[in-house]
């Protein structure tokens, strides 16, 4: 069937050209750069060297990675807990208000995230709105110190990344077949069991997609820890940025990026290997 091959070749060629130019080449550049040196006159230059990777063997980088991992992990979990019911409810709505409600979720995010973060600051700071209300109502005496702590960073991350959890889950839940749920109930499963054994596994692709889209940016974002967290600790995003901008050490920054990629890819591969019995693993 010649026409079949036309479309397939057309798609594949476009995809490969694009991916080659804008995914593979930049990535290769990064890998190559990580083995390079730098000096006063050039950002990236020969001789090739392993020193960048050798420098990585430092407990402080491991701690920075851990911290970013933990904060990104907690944010993802919270986004999941908050976002899943929300996505579920909207996706299962029959009404024609559905797209409207979805758009209503997205519109706030077309406002610059920086400005919204400042609005968050205005709410949680010592003289901010939240504290003023709580003090006026007599609930607390001293203002709550939320700003410039890890809690503020979490709030900021969740606030900015929640739609990235909601949207993929939503598109997935929509495909859920009500009949399966009804069948489970008919067979005597209570709501919790239905949820655990039917709904969760069927919406797992959406959950994974959402988690990836939240976790990965959360690992490398830097301005939220800066303005909401008071820049008192370094996360992965700051670390890499500092290498590029302050130390003018692009090879080192590339090395960080390469290692980060490697670690996360390994984690995913481990997950895939562990769940290889599960049919749904074709997702990755």
């Amino acid at each position: 069937m010649k026409t079949d091959n036309h479309f397939k070749s057309f798609s594949l060629s476009i995809i490969w050209v694009w991916m080659f130019l804008f995914a593979l080449l930049p990535f290769c550049l990064v890998i190559i750069a990580s083995f390079m040196s730098h000096n006063e006159n050039s950002l990236i230059t020969l001789p090739a060297t392993l020193t960048n990777y050798q420098h990585l063997n430092n407990s402080i980088y491991i701690r920075i990675f851990e911290k970013s991992f933990v904060i990104a992990g907690i944010s993802t979990l919270l986004c999941l807990i908050i976002g899943y019911p929300f996505a579920y409810i909207i996706a299962r709505m029959q009404s024609r208000w559905k797209s409207f409600l979805l758009l209503l979720v997205i519109i706030p995010f077309w406002t610059s995230s920086l400005i919204r973060s400042y609005a968050l600051i205005a709410i949680i700071k010592a003289k901010g709105i939240l504290n003023s209300i709580l003090i006026a109502l007599g609930i607390i005496d001293q203002p709550l110190a939320i700003l410039f702590t890890n809690y503020a960073v979490l709030i900021g991350l969740i606030y900015n990344l929640l739609p990235f959890m909601i949207l993929p889950i939503m598109t997935n839940v929509e495909r859920l077949d009500q009949r399966l749920i009804d069948a489970a109930r008919d067979l005597g499963a209570n709501r919790f069991t239905t949820f655990r054994k039917i709904i969760i596994p069927l919406t797992m692709p959406g959950i994974i997609a959402g988690s990836i889209l939240v976790f990965l940016p959360a690992m490398t974002i830097f301005y939220i820890p800066d303005i909401l967290g008071g820049a008192k600790s370094i996360m992965l995003g700051n670390l890499i940025q500092n290498q590029f901008l302050i130390s003018q050490n692009w090879p080192m920054g590339s090395a960080f990026s390469a290692v980060l990629t490697l670690i996360l890819v390994t984690l995913i591969l481990v997950h895939v290997w562990v769940t290889r019995g599960n049919k749904k693993r074709e997702w990755l």
């Binding site: 006063e40 920075i64 911290k67 003289k127 590029f244 901008l245 003018q248 050490n249």
Partner: protein, 346 residues
């Protein structure tokens, strides 16, 4: 879906027609908030040159762009002191032809031939600032904060704001220890790092961009800040004051420069000359609340600003100021290493 594609294609066509290069154009790439809009508009009106104005908020990004691209397309840039040093040495800057800058004479001689540009060949000074101590007199009295060393005091536990800038903070500690701000000696830097570790528990927040609102809203009541920022804060909160620490303080200067690859050099010179005009310099100083390097402009300022010790301190005080020079990659890497350890030790 199809509609979108057609629509987008049409728009793309329209845009490609619209973005033909204009004849008289100038691409300015400057520090955010330091060149007020009206200056650009006045320049456009008087010369008929269209200005494309972009901004950046740290030198490193500007530097990265100019360095990596053969033709970034910028005609005027605004490197800070030590970046002029570095970029000149790497042959990225045009040697200024003073004959094209008749208003050069307006510059305050104190800012000519500085350590970072010994013959003032590459840079035209614009505004400057000093890093010192700010405090809120609702909580502290003026006498309590005279030296950098005072910041280490126990009663400032979790109250300080420090600039989120590796160099600034290290310069501060080096000066506290009696070393020059541009010290490259690894031993001294290590000492500084250890001293800094002791200071950490007093730090409530590191910030450069949000300093002013932090000062006004009293999120931090004492710490490190630029005199220009402190002055602006004091206009909205009368309790904010500035001190020039006794051990010494760093002075930075933002300068205009012309990259070697500038496509519109003539227009660039016109712009540089324009901002050196006395009346323009004065308007900028009033609008941006930053101290100006332009003597003729300074002389036109109203007394209330001219005599303000925060932004125009006396000569005696100024003699303690140290200009920032380029430290070289090795020292920067050392700073960065200690900075990371510092922030992660909390």
């Amino acid at each position: 879906m199809k509609f979108f594609l057609r629509f987008t294609f049409l728009l793309l066509l329209l845009v490609s027609f619209a973005t033909h290069a204009a004849d008289k154009v100038l691409n300015v790439y400057a520090w955010t908030g330091e060149v007020p809009d009206f200056v650009v508009h006045m320049f456009e009106k008087e010369t008929g040159i269209k200005v494309n104005f972009s901004t950046y908020d740290n030198n490193e990004i500007m530097y990265a762009k100019i360095r990596t691209t053969k033709n970034p397309g910028y005609d005027v840039i605004m490197p800070s002191s030590y970046f002029v040093d570095r970029m000149a040495r790497q042959n990225l800057l045009e040697k200024l032809d003073k004959s094209k800058l008749p208003n050069w004479k307006n510059i305050n001689p104190n800012f000519l031939n500085p350590a970072y540009d010994p013959k003032s060949e590459y840079s035209s000074p614009y505004i400057w600032g000093i890093t010192g101590i700010f405090y809120n007199d609702k909580y502290y009295k003026a006498g309590e904060l005279k030296k950098w060393a005072d910041l280490w005091d126990e009663r400032f536990y979790n109250k300080l704001m420090l600039l989120d800038d590796t160099r600034e903070v290290f310069s501060m500690v080096l000066m506290r220890l009696g070393y020059p701000a541009n010290d490259r000696n690894p031993e001294h830097i290590r000492e500084a790092y250890l001293k800094l570790k002791e200071l950490l528990k007093n730090v409530k927040v590191f910030s450069t961009g949000t300093s002013v609102s932090i000062m006004i809203d009293e999120d931090a009541t004492v710490g490190m800040a630029w005199n220009g920022d402190t002055y602006r804060a004091s206009r909205e909160n009368k309790n904010i004051h500035f001190t020039f620490p006794e051990e010494g303080f760093v002075i930075w200067v933002d300068n205009f420069a012309i990259p070697k690859t500038a496509p519109h050099k003539e227009a660039a010179y016109q712009f540089l000359n324009f901002v050196l005009r006395a009346d323009i310099a004065k308007e900028v100083a009033v609008a941006a609340n930053f101290p100006t390097t332009n003597l003729a402009g300074f002389n036109l300022l109203p007394d209330s600003i001219r005599n303000d010790q925060t932004i125009y301190p006396s000569k005696e005080i100024m003699s303690h100021a140290q200009f920032q020079t380029d430290l070289g990659d090795d020292t920067l890497a050392l700073y960065e290493k200690y900075w990371e350890e510092l922030k992660m030790s909390g």
